[in-house]
Symmetry: C2
Subunit: 255 residues, 2 copies
């Protein structure tokens, strides 16, 4: 019969060493592997095309770009991109003359703008799987999405400058309560309005729905100075803000 020690050694040889070898075999050396380097370059171009709206409507991220998108989201660049955008937004906000009548508005989208659903998308292929509203709604009701550090910083700075905050989301009206809980737990507070899709908004494109909501704000006397969203459909259409700030989202596209 084998001694405990020889069993332990066998365990090491049988499991640990192959595991280490397997890890070594999948290490990618950028630049040393031509095809990997070409994929990396392509995927950077794809991400820029998506961010600048050159890609137009897309359903899932290119399958060859899953690793590249995951690296981006899990590395420092993603947070840095939000940070630099927040800096530009704050610089613009400081240039706005605040009237003091409470009508100077900054609009924020919620998902991938104020709150990050990265934990959900990590478990769903980083946007390589088609969007599944059932499983996403299960995630939403958990109300555990954290804030982006830079977005919370921007939000607090805007409040301090005297802006009225309006939250305009594609989430449904029946998710109001879980959304408020999540926002508060993540550190957001004192928004003027939280606008969600009502029954009359079902079936509208995000661009139309959000443009209509902005239009109603303008009719109500609000001045929309700034708007921050991760989708172009948060920002384009009609009744657009004086300045729109597009935060990155290489995981999904909402028309």
């Amino acid at each position: 019969m084998a001694s405990p020690r020889s069993l332990a050694i066998s365990f090491f040889v049988l499991l640990i060493i192959p595991a280490i070898s397997a890890r070594i075999s999948v290490i990618k050396l950028p630049g040393s592997d031509g095809s990997n380097s070409a994929a990396k370059t392509y995927c950077e171009s794809w991400r820029l095309a998506a961010e600048t709206n050159n890609a137009g409507t897309w359903n899932v991220i290119p399958s060859m770009c899953v690793d590249s998108v995951a690296d981006y989201l899990n590395g420092d660049q993603y947070g840095s991109d939000y940070g630099v955008i927040a800096d530009y937004a704050i610089a613009f906000a400081k240039s706005v003359q605040i009237s003091g009548d409470g009508k100077d508005v900054w609009i924020f989208d919620i998902d991938e703008t104020l709150l990050t659903n990265i934990d959900y998308y990590k478990a769903h292929g980083y946007g390589s799987e088609p969007f599944d509203s059932n499983s996403f709604n299960e995630w939403v009701v958990q109300s555990t999405a954290p804030a982006f550090d830079a977005s919370l910083r921007l939000y607090i700075a805007l409040k301090k400058l005297g802006f009225t905050i309006v939250l305009l989301t594609g989430r449904d009206e029946d998710q109001r309560s879980v959304t408020e809980t999540n926002l508060r737990d993540a550190g957001y507070s004192d928004w003027e309005r939280l606008l969600l899709r009502g029954p009359e908004d079902q079936g509208k494109s995000a661009t139309n729905y959000k443009s209509e909501q902005r239009s109603k704000l303008i009719v109500a006397g609000f001045r929309i100075h700034g708007n921050t969203g991760d989708q172009w459909s948060d920002l384009l259409g009609f009744a657009v803000a004086d300045r729109s700030f597009k935060v990155p989202n290489p995981m999904y596209y909402i028309p």
Copy 2:
């Protein structure tokens, strides 16, 4: 008196070794030097902010980003970015129903869109020096700016699909002849109109000037399906195209 050999050795010790040491001392190892890595991350974020128009108006590139911008422009990524955008533009163009009446238009800007002035900007700090119209105009009259490969490919594909090409540039009317020569030498031909700034357009912002020109095309019965430019002022304003394609330019911003 020293022998030729000892002189040669002295020369090696005095000049070559310090030169080698100097070279070694400036080698940058991404990731191993915290500040260099942080600058790289910041500059990538700045470039994305500029490309998405989040940065708003800017005069020169951040001084810390000169190396990063030069690396981008001189590496494979810059050309790849144009290539991926051209692919999306061609895919859209193929979806357009061409009427055959010659009124289906695609607009191109010229500088940094059809023609690359990289050789000029290489000699002027890649956008870190304030724009100098005198020296740039000296470059323009040389008529030696090459085509972007991807832009020429897109241009030829659009012609083949039956689009009418309109070139809309911020260059002045008195540069018409040198511009035509440069475009033809670079491989472009058979455009319908080349629109340059006339005396009445001086002092107008690029956004207004270009919007007015697009508006006149629409009044003349043209349908503007696509528009490609390196500046948001090529694309935004009024009378915008059905689809706008923003090609990259991290060197300068024109409001």
